[in-house]
């Protein structure tokens, strides 16, 4: 495989029992870019995202064909250690979900699982919260419940929780759904900051967001990748009719 790409999706199809959710996807994501996967509901975006760190393994009766490479290594290889893969490819869910424990413990949850010692743990937590632009807001109440944070803070906490694992790729599934414009803006800002150190694959919650943050984008419809290209090209002069229809709001 070529070394230029961080993740390569190769002839990938995905099935829930008999329903095909993804059809022969061929896609590459470059390091340190924000790649957005956009399209109408039920077009397979979340399925693709969850396939990238094999969270789809948890779904009963699901199967796939084709494969996905991370740094040239097949993630569906039987020798791939699943817990390591999920640490390298972190996932942020569409709704901020916290374990009912303190802010600190939520961020420390992942590093603790891999057996990080106590001393470096608090440094890791601070660093992660700083990277997620949350440190200043919560540093005085690290040990209070995570459930008392505002929506935007909760979502940034989810990002911090993943960053604490020092992943290489960040997968974000509509991280701003249900957030107000100000919180959304601060998360987008955070993402652009994070691009320096991480490869980001984002399912945006609308096209405006995709066009604001994306370097490159791929348009999905009914489980197919219709077209991909630089964000500028896709959002200003799409090659395919379906893409243009969707972007101009003719459906979706």
């Amino acid at each position: 495989m070529d070394r230029e790409n961080k993740m390569v999706i190769h002839q990938f199809s995905f099935f829930y029992d008999s329903i095909q959710a993804l059809k022969n996807i061929e896609l590459s994501v470059r390091p340190n870019e924000i790649f957005t996967i956009f399209g109408p509901a039920r077009s397979g975006k979340t399925t693709l995202l969850k396939s990238l760190n094999r969270l789809t393994d948890l779904i009963y009766g699901a199967k796939h064909t084709g494969t996905i490479f991370l740094d040239g290594k097949d993630i569906y290889d039987p020798y791939m250690i699943l817990t390591q893969l999920r640490r390298r490819v972190g996932f942020v869910f569409d709704l901020p979900i916290h374990l009912p424990i303190s802010i600190y413990e939520n961020v420390a949850y992942g590093p603790k699982l891999s057996g990080k010692n106590k001393k470096s743990l608090s440094e890791t937590v601070e660093k992660a919260l700083r990277s997620a632009a949350l440190w200043e807001e919560v540093k005085d109440r690290l040990h209070t419940s995570a459930l008392r944070l505002s929506g935007g803070q909760q979502q940034r906490l989810c990002i911090a929780r993943i960053l604490a694992l020092e992943p290489e790729v960040l997968l974000l599934d509509e991280p701003c759904s249900g957030l107000d414009p100000i919180s959304t803006a601060s998360i987008e800002e955070t993402l652009i900051q994070l691009k320096k150190d991480y490869t980001i694959i984002l399912v945006p919650h609308n096209i405006q967001q995709a066009s604001r943050v994306a370097d490159r984008a791929g348009f999905f419809l009914n489980g197919e990748l219709i077209e991909e290209g630089s964000a500028y090209q896709i959002f200003t002069k799409p090659k395919k009719k379906q893409t243009e229809d969707y972007i101009t709001g003719r459906f979706g």
């Binding site: 999920r86 869910f93 979900i97 374990l99 009912p100 949850y109 699982l113 419940s145």
Partner: protein, 280 residues
């Protein structure tokens, strides 16, 4: 207008009925407690707890029966909790709805409905005679364990069921293994529910008589090992009253039993609240 008045009537009728239900429940509870405490408390001395019974329980205290109750309950809880919690985790986390899980669940449901004397008979035949453990703390404790197992499985399963699926997904997505996910994301949140099941089981163990007479005997001698026969407070109460040995002593034993149950529940509640407050 009429329909409005009708609605008002239904509301107040429902309110009255619900109040009546709650009040009568409380009234029954208070009456039972009052009867035992009024008869038992006035003559209750502190020494009653620390003296061994003399002449079949006509005189002396109830020390050996307190020890018997505590020992039996401890054995039962120590054996049944890991088994029950383990089974519940298996049913909820490690297997899907399948024939095996249905058989296990059906089995526990049936066990929960079996009268305690049947458990006693089983314990007598299996532990006391077949395994040759005799009337002993161990036989009695194991029989009680079998008896409370369904309660622990059921309450633990219910507790685990209420944990959102997303907690597991979060734990997996942060690189957790199945074991880490169960022990760090699922169980801590389910702990208050599991604890409630254990407390219910403690209450049932403390109050049990029939199964215990058949498996642990009714000896008033101070136990020396797990293989000693013992008498619990509930059994003591039963024998004192049933055989007309001493109603006074029976009431005192009953009063002590109630005090101990109250004490255990208070402590348990305190610990539980502290745990919940500490966690969030």
């Amino acid at each position: 207008m009429r329909s409005n008045r009708f609605r008002f009537l239904t509301q107040s009728l429902a309110k009255t009925l619900i109040w009546a239900a709650a009040l009568s429940t409380i009234a029954v509870m208070i009456l039972i407690l009052l009867q035992i405490l009024v008869e038992g408390l006035p003559d209750l001395r502190f020494s009653f707890f620390f003296e061994s019974p003399k002449s079949m329980g006509r005189e002396g205290g109830i020390l050996t029966t307190i020890i018997g109750t505590v020992a039996l309950t401890l054995v039962a809880i120590i054996v049944a909790t890991p088994l029950g919690v383990g089974t519940a985790i298996f049913l909820r986390e490690y297997t899907r709805e399948s024939r095996i899980s249905r058989v296990i669940r059906f089995g526990t449901d049936c066990l929960a409905g079996v009268p305690s004397i049947i458990f006693g008979l089983f314990g007598f035949v299996f532990f006391v005679i077949f395994l040759n453990m005799g009337w002993s703390i161990l036989s009695g404790g194991l029989t009680l364990a079998a008896m409370i197992l369904p309660t622990i499985i059921c309450t633990t399963e219910e507790a685990i069921k209420t944990i959102p699926y997303s907690y597991r997904e979060v734990s997996y997505s942060l690189g957790g293994t199945k074991w880490q996910t169960v022990t760090r994301a699922v169980l801590p949140s389910a702990l208050p529910g599991i604890f409630t099941g254990i407390i219910l089981s403690v209450g049932r163990s403390i109050g049990e008589t029939a199964a215990i007479i058949l498996t642990a005997g009714s000896s008033l001698v101070m136990p020396t090992s797990l293989f000693s026969p013992i008498r619990t407070m509930a059994v003591h109460f039963y024998i004192l009253a049933r055989e007309g040995i001493s109603m006074e002593m029976a009431y005192r034993t009953g009063a002590t039993l109630i005090l101990i149950v109250l004490f255990v529940n208070t402590i348990a509640n305190f610990l539980l609240n502290r745990y919940i407050r500490h966690r969030i």
